[in-house]
């Protein structure tokens, strides 16, 4: 019974939602809308569940005096402090998001704007440093495929620049020549000649052509990479993923896929 009831509900709802999609007329249209509203309400409850789980977890850690329970205290103080700020602002202005200007904001908005936004931005900004370090240590053009990938990536990066396009293109030319020389040493002379000559040609073109022209061509090259080879690969992936999703949905509706019933 514990297994069968959820399976029946899933089957009925799955079939009904498919039917309502293809027959939007009444009563199916209203039924679908009602189901969507229910879904949204359920979504709200999942937020509450998440809150409940977070609070319980950190309370337990504090009570049991686990290692680093100080961070649990910080989490709970931040959570309830922000909640209190929201309630106070709500009581005062009728909304927690009171915003007249950055100088005239409610306490919830103050917490958001001056604590949460800088913290989130800072953590994400650290990526720039780690990417730079990883670029130096991890990105290597040991094989032909890896070299192609790196060249494409560098071309896209150059296309996204509004200054310094010429030095970046020269660095790319040096890289291609170096890759060509390396291919010679690993006994792939054809690839060596191809990479080397492309590198030399690119270097000569960058030196001969005016910088403004190079800056104009770079975004066009980037646009071509994005809209032709990249898109072809992306479209293939998209079609594959979508077919997989359809197959998985049918499996769930028919009760073949039951992993979502975790306890059964």
């Amino acid at each position: 019974m514990k297994r069968r009831v959820p399976l029946i509900i899933t089957f009925l709802m799955g079939v009904l939602m498919v039917v309502t999609f293809f027959i939007p007329r009444e009563p199916f249209g209203s039924f679908e809308q009602r189901m969507l509203v229910w879904f949204s309400i359920l979504g709200g409850f999942t937020l509450l569940l998440g809150l409940d789980s977070l609070v319980k977890h950190h309370f337990r850690r504090i009570i049991r005096k686990r290692k680093d329970s100080f961070y649990s205290i910080v989490t709970l103080v931040s959570l309830f402090g922000t909640l209190a700020a929201g309630i106070v602002t709500w009581a005062k202005y009728g909304t927690p998001l009171e915003f007249a200007s950055l100088e005239q904001i409610g306490s919830f908005y103050w917490v958001y704007w001056w604590i949460m936004v800088p913290l989130q931005s800072t953590v994400f900004a650290l990526l720039a440093f780690f990417i730079a370090s990883a670029a130096y240590r991890a990105f290597r053009a040991r094989t032909f495929d890896a070299t192609l990938l790196l060249v494409a990536a560098i071309l896209v990066m150059i296309g996204k620049m509004t200054m310094g396009v010429v030095p970046a293109a020269l660095i790319l030319a040096v890289f291609l020549v170096a890759a060509g020389v390396y291919r010679f040493f690993v006994r792939e002379p054809v690839l060596g000649i191809i990479f080397g000559s492309i590198g030399v040609a690119l270097g000569v073109l960058v030196i001969i052509f005016p910088a403004a022209k190079i800056a104009q061509i770079a975004p066009q090259v980037q646009e071509w990479i994005m809209s032709v080879p990249q898109m072809a690969a992306r479209r293939g992936i998209l079609i594959g993923v979508t077919l997989g999703a359809v197959a998985m949905s049918i499996r769930i509706i028919l009760g073949i896929e039951r992993t979502y019933l975790s306890s059964t």
Binding site: G44, F129, Y136, R137, G164, S227, R234
Partner: protein, 314 residues
């Protein structure tokens, strides 16, 4: 050999320091830039620019502070553009921590518009007082309202914030029938029906353009649920990493325009003739790109040399 090994194992704090310098210096120095507008940004700009005044544009805030530097300049630029064209804005959010950013962008755009047209508004009111000295008269009120419509952007009349609701896809589909089923009240708990702007807005048929500012998959959901099913015209403003995902939809015309990354924001600001965060941030992004390219190439060349030397040895 020793030198090369030392260089390849260089202390990463030196790399961090280099990155810090190349990002900081262009921010401190105001560098003039040449901007070439790409076709995808131009298409997004045209999609907004060609809407008739009074049309409704829905801005979906699908990013949060982690993507602030890339997405925020876009939403600010599009809000400014929309107000300058006499469009009305509906703000919704699918990321609760992103909603205040969207609200700040639209409020700032409204504030900027009102500040720009303050003199005209004051002059119109002054003229009205001269013509109708009785400020409580119907005529005076009508002239004042006309001046406000022309020179002011007001909450409820020119823009509304419907807030955040959970249930991403269900809301996108459901709004095709009736917005009120999900957003009966705005973010201030005001009945949507009491907002003048919303009186005739019920579903996607009443929304001329949808603009999603996202750092994830939300644009694809909008295309699937609002675009494919209801024929909603959509443009997107996304972070750099999301751009490749959306190119198939651009080619299939399911996406009418794409503002991609900080450069996209910079291009949109250029078309708008406005220097915002996108323009200010581009030099720093460009120098950071040069550094990353330089480091990749340097690291690879040292790797080549090490590999060749070790082969010779063996």
């Amino acid at each position: 050999m020793k030198f090369i090994r030392w260089v390849t194992n260089i202390d990463r704090r030196i790399i961090f320091l280099l990155m810090f310098v190349v990002v900081l210096v262009p921010i401190l120095i105001d560098i003039p830039l040449e901007t070439d507008v790409g076709p995808t940004v131009e298409a997004a700009y045209t999609a907004v620019d060609t809407l008739p005044p009074g049309s409704v544009i829905m801005l979906s805030v699908d990013y949060d502070a982690t993507s602030y530097p890339e997405c925020h300049p876009m939403i600010v630029a599009v809000s400014n553009h929309a107000f300058s064209k006499g469009l009305r804005i509906i703000l919704v959010a699918h990321i609760p921590t992103g909603l205040p950013l969207g609200q700040a962008a639209v409020e700032e755009a409204a504030f900027e518009y009102n500040k720009l047209h303050k003199q005209e508004y004051d002059a119109a009111i002054k003229q009205a007082i001269t013509t109708y000295p009785d400020t409580s008269s119907v005529e005076f009120r009508q002239v004042r309202e006309d001046a406000a419509v022309k020179y002011k952007k007001r909450y409820g009349v020119d823009y509304v914030n419907l807030g955040f609701r959970p249930g991403l896809a269900s809301i996108m589909v459901g709004m095709g029938r009736e917005i009120r089923d999900f957003y009966a009240q705005d973010y201030k708990s005001t009945d949507v029906d009491s907002l003048p702007m919303m009186k005739r807005v019920h579903n996607y048929e009443d929304i001329a353009l949808l603009a999603s500012f996202a750092h994830g998959k939300q644009v694809e959901y909008w295309i699937q649920y609002a675009g494919a099913r209801y024929g909603q015209k959509i443009i997107a403003g996304v972070t750099g990493v999301v751009i490749p995902d959306l190119y198939p939809f651009l080619q299939s015309k399911q996406l009418s325009g794409l503002i991609g990354g900080l450069k996209g924001a910079n291009e949109y600001e250029f078309l708008l003739g406005r220097k915002g965060l996108g323009t200010k941030g581009m030099p720093a992004q460009s120098t950071a790109h040069i550094l990353v390219i330089f480091l990749i190439v340097l690291g690879t060349i040292f790797e080549f040399i090490l590999s060749i030397l070790s082969r010779r040895k063996s």
